[in-house]
C-alpha cells in the first residue's frame, strides 16, 4: 500500500481537490432530506405554498451543485487513477528494463509481465474505487450520523435503532468473511484443478487416444468437476442469502424508526424529521456496507501492490561501476581467470575454476551434457551474470571495469532462445546497430544484406514479396524456427564485433544449411574471436580449441583428436553420436 501513498503524494493537490468535491457532494446529498422535512413541517403542515416553492428551488440548486461536485470528483478520480497507472507502469517498466538476468530468474518472465500489466490494473481499479466510493462513504456516513443526532432531539431511541441495525450488519459481514471467504480460496484451487485436467486432456490428446484412456480422463474430470460444482453451489447459496438479509435489515430499520416516532413524536415537525431520518439511516448503512467492501477488495489490491513493490524494490545485481570506462573498440583477447560462478541463491557453483584464453581468429567450442554449464559460461561474457569469483578480461581489462553498454557493443551474441521483435525484417536485422555513426543509409543497407547472405537468410528474405520490409509479428511468431535462427545470426553479424558468441545457434537448421552457414561464417569472422556452444560433435570437430564441460568443471581442453585420446567424457559423447570411421 505504501506505493499507493507514494504515488498519490505526487498529486497531493488533486487529492485535496477530490476531498473538497467529495465533501460538497456529500453535503448536497445530505441536505435534500432535510429540505423535504422542512417542506412537510413548515410548508405542507401550515399550507404555505410559497414556502414550498422557495424550498423547492433551493433543492434544485443543491441538486445542481451536487451533480457538479460529483462530476468534478469523477474528473479528478479518473485523472488521478490514470496518472497513477501511467506512472507506475513507467516505473516498473524502467526498473525491469534495467534488470539483469538474475532478477528475471528470480521473478520469472511471466510473473514480471503479470506484475506490469494485471497487477497495475488491479491497483488502478482499486484506487479509482477508493476515491469514488470508499472515501465518499465515510463522509456520507458520518454526515448522516451527525444529521441524525441533531434531528433526533425528541426521539433518543432512534440512535439506538441504527446502532442495533449496524451491529447486526457487522455480525453478518464477519460471518461472511469467516465462513465464505475461505471457501472462495478453496474454489479457486478447485477451478485450477478443473482447468488442469481439461488442459491435460488437450495437451495429451495423442497419448490419451493412443492408450484409449478417454474414459479414464473423463472420470478424472468428472471428479474435479463435481467437486467444484458442489462447493460452488454451497457458496452461492450462502451468498444469495445476503441480499434478502440486507433488505430485511434496511426495511426493519425503517419500521423501527416509524414505531419509535409513533410513540415519541410531539409535533408534525417530528414526523417530518422521521421521514428524513429514514433516508439518513439508509445513507449510514450503505456507507457502512461500502466501507466493509474495502475488506473484501483490499486484500487483492494489497497483494498486487506488494508484488509491484517487490519489483520496484529489487536491487539490480549488475550495474556499471562508478568508475567504469567506455570499452571503445576491443581487439577481442578473451580470458577467463579461475572463474567460479553460482546462481544467486542457487547453492552449489554452476561453474568452478574455469580458466582459458580465446584469441582473435580462433574458434573455441564448448561441449558437454545438459546442465554442464555451457550456456552459463558464455552468459558471463556479456555480463548477463557477473562472476562470483575470479575474473574475465578482454584485452587485459576486467569486463566489470567497462560500462555494460560499451562492453556489449563489442559482442555479437546469438542466444539459444532467439527472439525477434515486431517490426520488419530490416528493423530486426539492424537492431544491433545502435547509431549508424557516419555511415550512409545505403551502405548500412548493404552491410545488412551482406550479413543476411552470410547467415543464409538472404534467399528466403528476398523470396518474400516485401523482402526486407516484410512484417515480423510479435516475438517473431510468423517466422519459422530455422529462419528465426538465421535472422538472429544475421542480426549479430550486422553488429560487426571483435567477439562472436553462438549458443547452440545451429540446432534448428538442417545439415545442409548448417554447413553452408558455417563455411560463410568462417570467412567472415576470420579476425574475430568466436565462441560456439554445440550439441553435435560433428559441428565442432574442426574448432581450434574444444572445451569439454562436465558438471561445471572443465573436463578437458584441446582439439578433437587430442580430446578423443585424453578425455573420457568427450570420447563418450563422440562415440554415442558418430561411428568410428566418422570420428577419424
Amino acid at each position: 500500500m505504501s506505493i499507493l501513498f507514494k504515488y498519490y503524494g505526487r498529486h497531493f493537490g488533486w487529492i485535496v481537490a477530490a476531498f473538497v468535491f467529495l465533501f460538497i457532494q456529500a453535503q448536497c446529498d445530505l441536505a435534500l432530506p432535510q429540505y423535504m422535512s422542512d417542506i412537510v413541517t413548515y410548508g405542507i403542515a401550515v399550507s404555505d405554498t410559497g414556502y414550498i416553492i422557495q424550498k423547492g428551488l433551493m433543492m434544485l440548486l443543491v441538486s445542481l451543485t451536487g451533480v457538479a461536485a460529483a462530476v468534478s470528483v469523477g474528473f479528478v478520480a479518473s485523472r488521478l487513477g490514470a496518472s497513477l497507472a501511467r506512472d507506475l507502469r513507467v516505473s516498473v517498466f524502467t526498473k525491469v528494463s534495467a534488470y539483469s538476468n538474475a532478477e528475471f530468474d528470480k521473478f520469472s518472465t511471466s510473473s514480471l509481465i503479470t506484475r506490469s500489466t494485471n497487477d497495475i490494473t488491479q491497483i488502478l481499479v482499486f484506487s479509482v474505487m477508493l476515491i469514488r466510493m470508499i472515501f465518499y462513504a465515510p463522509i456520507m456516513g458520518i454526515g448522516g450520523a451527525i444529521k441524525c443526532l441533531t434531528m433526533s432531539g425528541d426521539m433518543p431511541m432512534m440512535a439506538m435503532a441504527i446502532s442495533i441495525a449496524l451491529a447486526v450488519l457487522i455480525v453478518l459481514i464477519i460471518f461472511l468473511l469467516l465462513v465464505v471467504q475461505p471457501k472462495f480460496t478453496k474454489i479457486q484451487k478447485m477451478v485450477d484443478d478443473t482447468n488442469l485436467v481439461a488442459r491435460e486432456s488437450l495437451t495429451g490428446m495423442m497419448v490419451i487416444r493412443a492408450f484409449n484412456t478417454q474414459k479414464h480422463e473423463e472420470d478424472r474430470f468428472e471428479q474435479v468437476n463435481s467437486r467444484l460444482t458442489g462447493t460452488n453451489l454451497f457458496v452461492n447459496r450462502i451468498m444469495v442469502l445476503m441480499m434478502p438479509f440486507m433488505t430485511c435489515i434496511m426495511n426493519g430499520l425503517s419500521l423501527a424508526i416509524v414505531w419509535i416516532a409513533a410513540i415519541s413524536a410531539q409535533s408534525v415537525g417530528d414526523v417530518a424529521n422521521m421521514m428524513a431520518f429514514m433516508q439518513y439511516s439508509m445513507h449510514i448503512i450503505m456507507s457502512f456496507m461500502v466501507v466493509s467492501m474495502v475488506f473484501i477488495l483490499m486484500p487483492r489490491a494489497v497483494v498486487s501492490a506488494r508484488r509491484i513493490g517487490e519489483v520496484l524494490d529489487s536491487e539490480v545485481s549488475i550495474t556499471d561501476r562508478p568508475d567504469a570506462k567506455d570499452a571503445g573498440r576491443l581487439t577481442g583477447v578473451l580470458e577467463f581467470q579461475d572463474v567460479t560462478f553460482a546462481y544467486p541463491g542457487g547453492g552449489d557453483p554452476a561453474l568452478s575454476h574455469i580458466s582459458f584464453t580465446a584469441k582473435p581468429g580462433q574458434t573455441v567450442a564448448f561441449i558437454g551434457s545438459t546442465g554442464s554449464g555451457k550456456s552459463t559460461l558464455i552468459n558471463l561474457i556479456p555480463r548477463l551474470y557477473d562472476v562470483t569469483e575470479g575474473k574475465i578480461t578482454i584485452d587485459g581489462t576486467d569486463i566489470r571495469d567497462f560500462t555494460k553498454a560499451s562492453l556489449r557493443r563489442n559482442i555479437g551474441f546469438v542466444p539459444q532462445k532467439n527472439v525477434l521483435f515486431s517490426g520488419t525484417i530490416k528493423s530486426n536485422l539492424k537492431y544491433g546497430r545502435q547509431s549508424a555513426e557516419d555511415e550512409s543509409p545505403e551502405a548500412a543497407d548493404e552491410a545488412m544484406k551482406k550479413a543476411a547472405r552470410i547467415a543464409q537468410a538472404a534467399e528466403f528474405i528476398e523470396s518474400k514479396p516485401d523482402g526486407y520490409q516484410s512484417e515480423v509479428a510479435q516475438g517473431g511468431g510468423n517466422v519459422s524456427g530455422g529462419q528465426k535462427q538465421r535472422l538472429a545470426i544475421a542480426r549479430a553479424l550486422d553488429k560487426k564485433c571483435p567477439i562472436y558468441v553462438f549458443d547452440d545457434s545451429f540446432s534448428a537448421l538442417d545439415f545442409k544449411t548448417d554447413a553452408q552457414l558455417r563455411r560463410a561464417l568462417k570467412a567472415e569472422t576470420a579476425d574475430a574471436t568466436v565462441l560456439i556452444v554445440a550439441q553435435r560433435v560433428g559441428t565442432i570437430m574442426g574448432a581450434d580449441q574444444i572445451i569439454v564441460l562436465d558438471e561445471g568443471k572443465i573436463a578437458g581442453i584441446g582439439t578433437h583428436r587430442e580430446l578423443l585420446a585424453s578425455c573420457q567424457v568427450y570420447a563418450d559423447i563422440a562415440h554415442s553420436q558418430l561411428s568410428e570411421e566418422e570420428l577419424a
Binding site: 485523472r79 482447468n195 497419448v207 430485511c248 556489449r408
Partner: protein, 742 residues
Amino acid sequence: MEQNQTTPKRPTPHGPMRGHGPMGGPRGGMPGEKAKDFSGTMKKTLRYMRRSIPAILVAFIFAIGGVVLTLNVPNVLGEATDELILGVTRRSVYDQLTEMQDDMENIGKSIAAIPQEELLPLLADQSATMQTLVDRGYLSAADAESLGSEFLNTPLSAFREMSQSGAMSQSFATIGEFAEALEQASPDAAKMLNQIPEKYREEIFATPLDTRPEVDLAAIGRIILILIVMIGSAAVISYVQGFIMAGVAQKLSYRFRKDIDLKINKLPLSFYDKTTHGEVMSLITNDVDTISTTLNQSLSQILTSVVTLFGALFMMLRISWIMTLAGLVILPLALLLIMLVVKRSQRYFARQQEYLGHVNGHIEEMYAGHTVVQLYNGEEKSLHQFKEYNNELYQSAWRSQFLSGLMQPIMSFIGNLGYVIVCVLGGFLTVNGQITVGNIQAFVQYLRQFNQPITQIASITNTLQSTAAAAERVFGFLEQEEEQETGAASPKHVEGNVCFEHVRFGYTPDKVIIHDFSAGIKAGQRVAIVGPTGAGKTTIVKLLMRFYEINAGKISIDGVDTKEYLRSSLRSEIGMVLQDTWLFSGSIRENIRYGRLDATDEEVYAAAKMACADHFIRTLPGGYDFVINEEAGNISQGQKQLLTIARAILADPALLILDEATSSVDTRTELLIQKAMDRLMQGRTSFIIAHRLSTIRDADLILVLKDGDIIEQGTHQQLLQKDGFYASLYNSQFETSAAEAG
C-alpha cells in the same frame, strides 16, 4: 462469482486481459462482444437447459411474487406516516383549542369581575378592544398575551356576543363543532384551523373533545405488523428464488464443462489444427463462467427489474397521475443524456483498449526478449517506445474512465430532480387535499424504484449480448463434427506387417503433402523416418494411428485395411513414445499405469525396470508415489522420456512408434534411453523418428521426408548410392567438419 484466470488468450484483443475492461469490467454500457445469431443462440441455450426450465419458471414466479410483495411496502409505510401525522396533528389541534378555551375562560372570568358601570360603556364603544381592557388594568397582560396578539384587537362587542352565545362555557361534542364556533370569534383560531391540510381536516374535526386524542398506536402497530409479514415473506421468497437459480446455474455450468470435456476427446485431431488449446480452455474458464453468472444473477435481475418498472409505474399512477407525469417528464432527458455519454465514452473506451493492447504487447515482447534487449543495448529504444504508448493510453484512459463515470452522477441527478419535483408538486397537492404526506413519502420511493431498472438497461443488454456470444462459442464447439468410426473390427493377433499403398494425404484438402506413398514393412522390421526439422516426420505416425484420415490409398496391418478397425482397438496395438513427453499431474505409479489401467503394481515395477527408470524413481522422495506436478518441472526431460517408455512397455503393443531424443537430454540419460528403447523394440515393428546416425544406418527401411512428402526410401546403402537428398543430407554433416579441420 468471478473466477479470475490468466490462462487463455483469444486471438482478438491483445495481451493477457481479454474482454474485461481494464478498469474493472464492462460498466456504463461499454461495448462488449456480440453474438452473431442472438436469438438462435438463445433458443439453443433454452433447449440445452430444458430440464431446468420448470425450476427456472418456479424461480421466476417467486421473483415476481417477491417484487409484488415488496412493491406495496412504500405505500403501506406511507399509510403509517399518514396515521402518525394525523394523530400528531389531531393532538396538537386539540391541545391548542383546549388551551385557547382555558385562556378564554380566564378572560371571561376577568371580564366578569369588571364592575358593570365600567364595562357597559366600553361594550357600547365600537372602538374599544381587548387592548383597552389591558390598558385599563382589568386584564393582566399575561392572560391577554396567551390568547395571541391579534386577539387584542378583537372588538369587545364581538367578544360579548361570543360570551353571550356561551361559546366559552358550553361544551362541544367534537373538535369540529367547537372550531366552527371559535372560528367566527377568533381570527387566530380560524387561521390555525385553516392550516390543517384538507385531507386530515375532516377526520380531525370528527374527533370528540371529551378526552385528549392520542396517536393511534394500535393502528400504526397493525400497519407495522403487516409490513413485517410482507417484508419477511418477500425475503424468504427472494431467497428461495436465489437458491433455485444458484442450483440451475451450477448444474448448467457442470453440464457445460462436462460436455466440453467429453467433446475434446471426440473431435478429430485435425480440428485442433485450426483451434488453439487456449481457445478451448477459454470455453471452460471464461465462457461457461459468463453464462453461469448471467443465469445466477442477471436473469432474475432482468425479470425483477421489468416487474418493478411496471409495478412502480402502476403504484405511482394510483397515487397521482399528475405527479407521475411530472416525474416521468425528465426520463427522456435522462435517456438522451445517457446516450450521448455512452456514445462518446465508447469511442474512448475502444481507443483505450487499443493502446492497452499496445502497452501490454510491448511489455510482453520486451520482457520475453529481455536478454536480446540487453545484449543489443536496446533498453533506451524500448523505453522510449513504451512511454509513447503509455502516454497515449493515459490520454484515452482517463477520458474513457471519466465519461463512463459520468453515468452515475447523471442518474443520481435525475433521481434528485424527480425528488424535488415530487416534494414541491406533492406539497401543493397535499395542501389542496388531493394526496397525503404519506403519499409523497411513498411516491419518492416508487420513483426511485422506477429509475433504477432504467439505469440497468444498458448494462443488462451488454450482459445478455456477451452471454449470447459466450454461449454461441460453446455451442459452436459442442456442435463440431465428431470423429466417425469407419469399421468395427478388432484385430485378433497382430504380427506387425504394415503396408502403405498409394497413400495420399494433406492436412487441408487443397494442400496435399504426401502424394503417392507405398511401402511394405515386414513384422519386426525397423523403419527410420528422417528429414530436416519441420519436414513433417510425425505425419506418418499420425496416419498410422489414424489421428488423421488419408485422402486416398490404403494403410493395412497384416493385410487388413486399418479403416476396418475400430479406432480404439487399432490404437491399442500401437505403442507410442514421443519426444514431447506427456505426463499428467499425478504419481509416477499412475503415470506408468496409464499404459494399461488394470496393470498390477508388480507389472508397473517390472515395466519401470525394463525402461531403466526403476533406479531413478527409487531415488525420488516417495519413490513411485512421487507426484509429478503440472508442467512436470520437477523431473528432467530425459527421466520423463524413460517414464513414457515404461508406459509403452506396460501397454505391450505389437507396433511401436518412437521419437528419438535430440538435444535436451544429457548424455548419461541418453544412453539409458537408448538402452530402454532397444529393449522395447525387440520383436516389434517399429517406426523411429530418428536423429542418431547409428539408428538410421541400422534401419531396415529409411523414409526421407522433405516438406511433408516422402521423397526417398530405401536402406542406408541404397540411398547413399542413389546420391539424392539423403546423401547430401548425410554428407553435409562431415563436409563442414572437414572444411573446418582443413
